[in-house]
Symmetry: C2
Subunit: 92 residues, 2 copies
Amino acid sequence: MLEIIGFIAGIFTSISFFPQAIKVIKTNQVADISLLTYFMFLMGLALWVVYGLFFHSPSIFICNAISLIPAGIIFIIKAKSIIEKKHARLQN
Amino acid sequence: MLEIIGFIAGIFTSISFFPQAIKVIKTNQVADISLLTYFMFLMGLALWVVYGLFFHSPSIFICNAISLIPAGIIFIIKAKSIIEKKHARLQN
């Protein structure tokens, strides 16, 4: 029973950021998104992937590796928008 | 060494959503935020808390319980804004 709870928890947390990534890709609107949040989230996920790898825990490795995808997309699009805004300001 | 990686990973993922919660509280702008993301994220975090409790794993319990706070704040403010918009539309 407990393993099932862990498995379902892992699925929820792994796939939970895909809707946010899809929304960001579709709308390209990221003003309300925190760059710092996704920077720290990516750091944490990457470390959990390393931990899962060395600790030989496929579930920790897979769950966090999956989350890296949407979190990485959101971070890149947010960072890009900040850089573009800075460029626009410099040219004015 | 491995435990240190897990500990740092846990800190990063636990506190990573506080900047997003603070930004949402300050600006009250949540148009770009996905309600579905934070609903699923909250489900996952809550299940991890149950898992950590029954599995007697304080680190899993504490890390995910901490994340529940900012994730819950973001979810509530986003849900509120959706309800308010619907109300405004009904009254027009």
